[in-house]
Symmetry: C2
Subunit: 340 residues, 2 copies
DNA sequence: CTGAAAGCGCTTACAG
DNA sequence: CTGAAAGCGCTTACAG
């Protein structure tokens, strides 16, 4: 590796000061156009690499944004991340990603790392059980936080997520309109806002239709394909013989449909199944999954924009911003057919 | 936000020098044990946050490692990333992730960003068409690179990937042993080493079994579920009426099986399908997918270890390190059954 | 075992 | 339009 090229290397080679070089490379109007061109040309020729650490130490802006989710391998978060990525790219901000896997410790370690790196902000879907102190730790050290997908009680930071209660009621109403009366709810946990809100929306929709709510028709827990797959046995053996399942998300729904198929029944014919999120793969599942669009792209885009705006000095309103979900009717739901 | 706490804040409050504080916080044996404890206690009490940028500027080590893949939403890369993550976590290295989506420009921008941030190294699966200069740019500026999943011609950097040619021959031989003779190959592109090597392995296996290779039985292109799903139409309309498909990866295989189901045929019975990678979801697909384990966890772990070792000073051997694939026989393959 | 001082590579008032 | 100088917050020889 050749001798490190820095501002002073360029300055000396051109007989100018580092101040002029610095200004020129950042297109300051203070530098004459032809001086600027000469400097840029020379920087390229010497293979100059801008040292962001040094600049950041001086300016206390790092150009780094932290993003922490439960697990990016989950396409729901993956789709949010993609939207964040493209929005940050446009503003030349680099993001650092971490999965917390709902470990509060892992999440805190990550927040501390971001603070040490001088991260300009953080976009997060907080881990289950996140203490308020961890959130204020960020804010108090000048690192604004934006929440996505999950709300946190007692925190009025800007939060972007879908209207879960309304969305799940769309799915439930759809099944009711097809004649289903014994409808199970599969997946999700009361430990997250999405779990609570979606169960509540399901309960509300049933009540509004005059259908009695049977708590035993709830199978809480599953949140992945694997989980949905395994829940199929439980679901199929429920003594109430439900004819339909409202799933907490698409992954659970797809897993459940696979499990139902393995048992020799045909999802969408023998048993109706709805998902939630409208992941890209929902449309190509077999059968194509009836689900609720949860606006991941919108959530990611708005959250990134909110953070960028805040970094630019404007203060977006705090509190929860709900994105309106929409029904996507496909082949996994159909008219009620009695269970044998 | 309170006044920023730095080393000198602690030093003054205790009547010590910043040198002592710095050493104590890093557990240097040069500092007396009780002095150290007092310092650590005070640092905590004041809410001190270590400034990595300043330290990194001084030491020229950042504790940051870059990771760039085609797309982490692809579970194949996601599984590699997980292994890298857990290995780096153990060494308290932070990773910065980027998708290149096979855009050479996006990849180069990311490499430049890493250089600016003083990244200690990079683990990458190079974008299609990556010029050698982009790789040497990293190395020449003191940022060692480790390749995963894809090889690059003319580059002898350490590379960790599966033995694609051997692996696909396992899948092909399995189908041949079930009596299949008209076997299509679906997905992949000649622009990547995996695409070339897997097609070659398929061709070799057929030849060795004395089966004539029909280039029209290759359907190149698909690399995703969506792609495999769409390829089903083409596959089913092939005049040679193949009874089995060797797919380039699990995603294509799962998509293809969905497409086959939509057409009213039963994958695993009417048409045998093999995947490649053994993603977590292969086992719960319907039918459960016969596939080839590609050792993602191993690839990620070894690549991360190789980089960490290099950072620690030891020089692992350059060149390609092949991980041995293994066959996973499930329900998506069965005895040949003539196409009608 | 602890301290004084230099320096990592930038940017930013301030002068001219 | 350009330059001299200070300073961001650390670490690291070097002294003692």
């Amino acid at each position: 590796m050749a001798q490190k090229v820095k501002l002073s290397t360029i300055a000396e080679s051109l007989g100018l000061s580092t101040a002029t070089i610095s200004l020129a490379l950042r297109d300051s109007p203070l530098v004459a156009a032809d001086t600027r061109d000469k400097i840029k040309e020379q920087a390229r020729a010497l293979g100059y690499i801008y040292n962001r650490r040094a600049a950041s130490l001086r300016t206390s802006r790092s150009g780094i944004v932290g993003v922490v989710f439960h697990d990016v391998m989950n396409p729901f978060y993956g789709e949010i991340l993609k939207a964040i990525e493209s929005e940050l790219d446009r503003s030349r901000q680099t993001f650092i990603l971490s999965n917390h896997y709902d470990s509060v410790e892992k999440q805190r370690t990550f927040i501390e790392t971001l603070l040490q790196l001088g991260s300009d902000g953080i976009i997060m879907s907080p881990a289950i059980g996140t203490p308020i102190e961890d959130m204020t730790l960020a804010e108090e050290n000048g690192m604004p936080a934006i929440l996505v997908a999950r709300s946190m009680d007692g925190v009025d930071m800007p939060t972007y997520r879908g209207d879960d209660s309304y969305g799940i009621s769309l799915a439930t109403n759809h099944l009711i309109s097809l004649g289903h009366r014994t409808i199970a709810m599969v997946g999700g946990t009361d430990q997250t806002s999405t779990g609570r809100d979606r169960y509540q929306g399901y309960v509300n929709a049933l009540r509004k239709a005059g259908i009695e709510v049977d708590p035993n028709l709830r199978i809480p827990g599953p949140r992945s394909k694997q989980g949905g797959f395994e829940a199929a046995v439980h679901f199929l053996s429920l003594p109430q013989k439900p004819t339909a399942a409202v799933c907490w998300n698409d992954l659970v729904a797809i897993g459940l449909m696979n499990g139902i198929s393995r048992a020799g029944l045909v999802p969408g014919v023998d048993i109706s199944v709805t998902g939630y999120d409208d992941l890209e793969e929902a449309a190509i599942a077999t059968p194509a999954l009836t689900t609720v669009s949860n606006g991941q792209a919108e959530v990611g885009r708005l959250a990134a924009r909110a953070l960028l705006d805040r970094l630019a000095g404007s203060h977006e309103p705090d509190g929860i911003h709900l994105i309106k979900p929409e029904m996507r009717i496909r082949q996994s739901t159909g008219p009620v057919r009695p269970r044998v």
